[in-house]
């Protein structure tokens, strides 16, 4: 990644600042610096590749993950592995086993890039979930320009909402005996299952054990659920069908684009597909072995298959609906790649563009691979960065497109490579464009600034934040400071709402100036004036491709109101109707001294929108999970604890 600094999507600071140099012991002595990366071997996609002769050489890969170290450069990674982000705890209650934690600092493992990939070695499984998990975290931190934080644990203490800091996401590699894996917000954990293959299909042999925790795609997918939940906790609520679908689709987008960090596989696929990225099957599907072990030929979800983009069966189910989003993004990706490699193919064919029969020249394959991987890494960065530009709740695919376009526009002024055009075109073909836009163009899709871009409350709040952009604190400190700043912004805003034109300000931020407080049981609490929360305040330290810093503050201001599912039965089941705004703030726009912070965009979900309320009410009446499950189980209660667990139907399993 480091050598790509200055490329189109720009480089960002490393997640953790390099530790300060140890004290100089003797003048002139060379220091041995802590390594930046730890190299670990993994299954590149999943163990399925190893079973076929033609792909066996591609089955494993060595990846680089952050070398977790203290200020002196000494490793802080503990057996488990337990680091500062993740803790792998390998207990398997269904098998009444516990597998001893791997110690990646064992000198023998340090010298051999960790354990050799093996399905039969539980400690390798621990190594793999840690390695792929850390790699996914790095992709997020690079794109977002800040440390990743997990969603706090939400509990109640005598009616008070408690948000307990979660230092590490826990990973259970062998938690379930089933064809499933999920992120559990209630446990702040990823649970992976294992199961015997149902049929002999592809590389899968009936009866042999298949592990979700050995699929790089599944690990990246579940990690993404957890990372997205850390940024947007309200995306757990299915306020419209596209919200859970976005969670699923976004997780697949991240998993898909991670394929393109495995250059050997990309090269082999590009050679086999003769440069046509749209025919590279290994690259365009997720969880191949998992799919085949379930008894179907090919990947669990294949994004080269047009039916994935237009599912015939159950198109509104979260995974199927989410797949339509992924399909659009992957279409845009293949379009951009084709454009980018077109000149290479022409150069290699004397201008005709017609490749000769036989194998492609290895140098051409190498160059095609490099272009493809670069495109993938840039698109992934845009896709992840866009989540900062998303509304605080109730997201739709159209809004995600607007976030993508705005995020890219903020980063790269001219669209020389046609990324934005390709994205818009793909979303149009998939019929996922936002509604109620009169024209479809980059200009009309980009989010708008509010009327008052440089309000006084913003200037004084940002001054009080006192952000030192040069320093990246540890995660607990980041969490603590972010909370202090949230309180500061809340105070400034509350004062501004109380002043003249306060109601107009509230309206501009999507808030209801007359909305009071509610307790955790949906009951109004008397005696509160206008109640709102600054439920997130994130900073993003980014650099544009031209080298200029592009620091940003993302503030989420939100309200909630208890609403009955059935208006005729006000004492019946209730849901939270949420609204507010995501504000993208430039703390120091160019050309202004002293700094005059400016709201560049306001992404509003208005509290007083009756249309949205009706839509959410309709969504609340649709049972969670499949019809059969909802017939016999209280799926509200089940989904309340494990919103990501209901992956399939009773009959889908076998």
């Amino acid at each position: 990644m480091a050598d790509e600094a200055g490329e189109a999507a720009g480089a960002t600071a490393p997640p953790e600042a390099p530790p300060p140099a140890p004290p100089v012991r003797r003048r002139g002595q060379r220091e041995t610096h802590a390594p930046r990366f730890r190299r670990l071997r993994v299954f590149a996609l999943d163990p399925g590749l190893a079973a076929t002769l033609s792909t066996a050489a591609l089955a494993t890969a060595t990846i680089e993950v952050a070398y977790e170290a203290d200020a002196h450069g000494n490793s802080t990674l503990m057996p488990g592995p337990v680091g500062s982000y993740l803790e792998v705890v390998d207990v398997d209650p269904a098998s009444d086993r516990a597998y001893p934690p791997v110690d990646l600092d064992d000198p023998r493992l340090l010298a051999s890039d960790g354990l050799t990939p093996s399905e039969g070695n539980a400690q390798f499984h621990q190594q793999m979930v840690y390695a792929v998990g850390m790699k996914t975290i790095r992709a997020f931190e690079e794109a977002l320009g800040r440390v990743a934080l997990w969603a706090p644990r939400r509990t109640q203490d005598h009616g008070r909402a408690v948000f307990e800091y979660v230092p590490r996401l826990r990973i259970y590699p062998h938690a379930l005996r089933e064809r499933n894996a999920y992120y559990s917000p209630a446990k702040a954990a990823l649970l992976f299952g294992y199961f015997p293959a149902a049929a002999t299909v592809g590389a899968s042999v009936a009866g042999t054990m298949t592990f979700a925790c050995l699929s790089a795609d599944i690990i990246a997918h579940e990690m993404t659920h957890a990372l997205l939940d850390g940024v947007h906790p309200h995306y757990q609520e299915p306020s419209n069908p596209q919200v859970p679908a976005f969670h699923e689709g976004f997780a697949d987008i991240v998993a898909l684009f991670q394929h393109f960090t495995m250059t050997d596989i990309v090269a082999a696929s590009m050679a086999k597909a003769r440069g046509r990225i749209g025919a590279a099957e290994l690259l365009g599907g997720v969880a191949q072995q998992f799919g085949e072990a379930g008894g179907r030929l090919g990947a669990l979800r294949n994004y080269l298959d047009p039916e994935t983009g237009r599912p015939k069966d159950n198109p509104q189910e979260a995974h199927n609906l989410g797949a339509q989003l992924v399909f659009a993004v992957y279409q845009a990706f293949t379009t951009i790649v084709e454009r980018r490699i077109d000149d290479l193919v022409r150069l290699a064919t004397g201008g005709t563009g017609l490749l000769p029969a036989g194998e492609l020249h290895p140098v051409l394959v190498e160059r095609l691979t490099r272009e493809t991987c670069k495109t993938a890494s840039q698109l992934l960065r845009i896709c992840v960065r866009a989540i900062d530009y998303c509304p605080p709740n109730d997201i739709t695919f159209g809004e995600y497109l607007r976030a993508l376009i705005t995020a890219d526009l903020d980063q790269v002024a001219d669209d020389r490579l046609g990324y934005r055009t390709a994205l818009i075109q793909a979303f149009r073909q998939q019929e996922l464009l936002p509604r109620r836009l009169r024209t479809i163009s980059v200009e009309s899709l980009a989010w708008r600034p509010p009327l008052d871009r440089k309000p006084a409350w913003l200037k004084s709040a940002v001054a009080k934040f006192n952000i030192d952009w040069a320093v990246t604190a540890d995660r607990w400190t980041s969490y603590r400071i972010a909370r202090q700043r949230r309180i500061m912004l809340h105070d400034h805003l509350a004062a501004a709402f109380a002043r003249r034109h306060g109601e107009e300000l509230a309206d501009a931020l999507g808030l209801d100036p007359n909305l009071g407080a509610f307790d955790e049981n949906f009951q109004p609490v008397a005696g509160h004036g206008m109640t709102f929360s600054v439920h997130s305040l994130r900073r993003a330290r980014r650099t544009r491709p031209d080298g200029t810093p592009a620091n940003q503050i993302v503030a989420v201001i939100a309200q909630r109101r208890a609403e009955p599912v059935d208006p005729a039965n006000p004492q019946g089941r209730k849901f939270w109707f949420r609204g507010g705004a995501t504000l993208i703030v430039d703390p120091a726009p160019e050309g202004a001294f002293p700094a005059q912070p400016e709201i560049r965009y306001a992404v509003v979900k208005h509290m007083l929108s009756t249309k949205r309320l009706d839509a959410q009410r309709a969504a609340a009446q649709v049972p969670r999970g499949s019809a059969m499950r909802a017939q016999y189980f209280d799926t509200e209660a089940l989904a309340g604890a494990e919103p990501f667990a209901m992956l399939h139907d009773g009959e889908d399993w076998s």
Binding site: R483, Y632, D649, S654
Partner: protein, 441 residues
């Protein structure tokens, strides 16, 4: 021409239908009883069913045919709990899926047996966990209520009820295959056509290979491991061989491993951030909320639904063609998609009748599975029942369904469509009446 009367009993969530085919020239009527059962969650179910059987006895001492459509308590409990000894029984009809010695039927029986064993053990554990979280309670309730299709109140199995009804046949037992055409005795002009269950591994979700291994076996292996009756090396569901890892419940023998589990799983959490005044809520040392002791039991919900829908799909589906009146009575038991979807391809032994023709002539439809949404196919099912005089009877109990936490029984969407197409009677909306009578022919 024969007059046909259907007495549909309204005793709760369960099926019991008595059919009297009158003799055209004044001879003895022909009596057919299709199912006699009530779900074990129905309060006072046994007593209500006793009343039903007494009512049957008051009309006839002879049952020419008893049909037990499938092995579910809400269709067969009466054969186990009520007194049928005073009836003279001609024949007993069951689906081929209940036939001893039939390879596929025995495979199904094995699955049902394994699944029941697993669900019984899972139920016990889930009930113990139910108090811990609302989700655990929801899981426990759902599994328990689904088990109610398999067991009576005091643990009697629906298998026992099946054996009881077979015994009533005293050797005169027919196991019917799809496509079979059974004319009722001469002169009545009534013919029974068998539409399901399909002889199709796929539709019944039987596995293609002996090597494969279902949820039931996996759960049973886990329970056996916990009970100490199975070794890891002999556990086909185990992820690794015995050399990997150490026992969890007994605690690892290796000191470092035991310390790791204490610090990271079972004891208080270690190396938490140092907290100063004014800091946000810090993590608590208590990390019990992150344990996964029971999460693997979540799959028992899938198994309970598998067992339920596979058993429902073994439903014996009968279409009674009344002959000269060209009317058809359709008894679909609890057939689900796998069963309904197979009817179109059925070739009837008479060589002329088609399913489409039977559905088009249907004037009485005993609605599948208490009106749940997945037991009446629309296209090729209800939509193909185009007779203007169609009547539909739903043996259901919405109050009981709600009490045990089931959603949508009967399903509003299906109800709306039924109401638009047919004259609908719901057994839970007839007041105190024990039955509804229909006349045809």
């Amino acid at each position: 021409m024969s007059k046909v009367r259907v007495r549909a009993y309204c005793h709760g969530l369960g099926d019991c239908n008595l059919i009297e085919v009158g003799h055209p020239t004044g001879g003895a009527s022909f009596w057919m009883l299709i199912d006699c059962g009530i779900h074990s969650s129905a309060k006072g179910g046994k007593e209500r069913l006793d009343k039903v059987v007494a009512d049957i006895a008051a009309q006839t001492r002879r049952l020419d045919v008893i049909v037990a459509t499938h092995e579910h308590w809400d269709h067969t409990s009466g054969f186990s709990t009520a007194d049928f000894s005073s009836f003279a029984v001609g024949e007993v009809w069951l689906a081929w899926t209940e036939k001893p010695g039939d390879e596929m039927a025995e495979e199904l029986d094995r699955f049902k047996g394994d699944a029941l064993t697993a669900l019984t053990a899972a139920n016990e554990r889930l009930q113990a966990l139910a108090a811990t979280t609302p989700a655990a309670a929801a899981l426990a309730n759902g599994v328990a209520a689904l088990r109610g299709f398999e067991f009576g109140l005091t643990g009697e199995k629906s298998r026992a009820a099946r054996e009881a009804v077979v015994a009533l046949g005293k050797g005169n037992v027919r196991y019917l295959e799809p496509g079979a055409v059974v004319p009722l005795p001469k002169g009545l002009g009534v013919t029974a056509f068998v539409l399901g269950p399909p002889r199709d591994r796929k539709a019944l979700r039987l596995r293609d290979s002996a090597n494969t291994y279902g949820i039931a076996n996996s759960l049973n292996a886990s329970f056996a491991l916990a009970a100490g009756t199975l070794d890891t090396d002999d556990d086909p569901g185990a992820p690794f061989d015995e050399t990997e890892g150490e026992p969890l419940s007994a605690g690892p023998a290796r000191r470092r491993h035991a310390d790791f589990l204490r610090d990271r799983y079972s004891g208080d959490a270690v190396d938490l951030p140092v907290v100063k005044a004014g800091d946000p809520d810090p993590p608590q040392p208590d990390q019990q909320w992150r344990r996964i002791d029971g999460d693997w039991l979540g799959v028992s919900a899938d198994l309970a639904m598998q067992l339920d829908s596979r058993t429902n799909n073994t439903s014996l589906v009968l279409a009674l063609d009344l002959g000269r009146s060209e009317e058809v009575l359709l008894f679909a038991a609890d057939a689900q998609v796998g069963n309904w979807g197979s009817w179109d391809a059925v070739k009837f032994a008479d060589g002329t009748t088609t399913t489409a023709d039977l559905l088009a002539r249907t004037v009485f439809y005993k609605v599948g599975h208490h009106g749940s949404s997945n037991a009446t196919a629309m296209t090729g099912g209800l939509e193909a029942m185009t007779h203007p005089a169609l009547k539909a009877f739903i043996p259901t109990d919405q109050t009981m369904a709600e009490a045990v936490g089931w959603g949508a029984i009967p399903a509003p969407g299906l109800l709306a469509r039924l109401t638009a197409k047919a004259e609908v009677v719901r057994s839970d909306q007839v007041g105190d009446a024990l039955f509804v009578d229909y006349s045809f022919g």
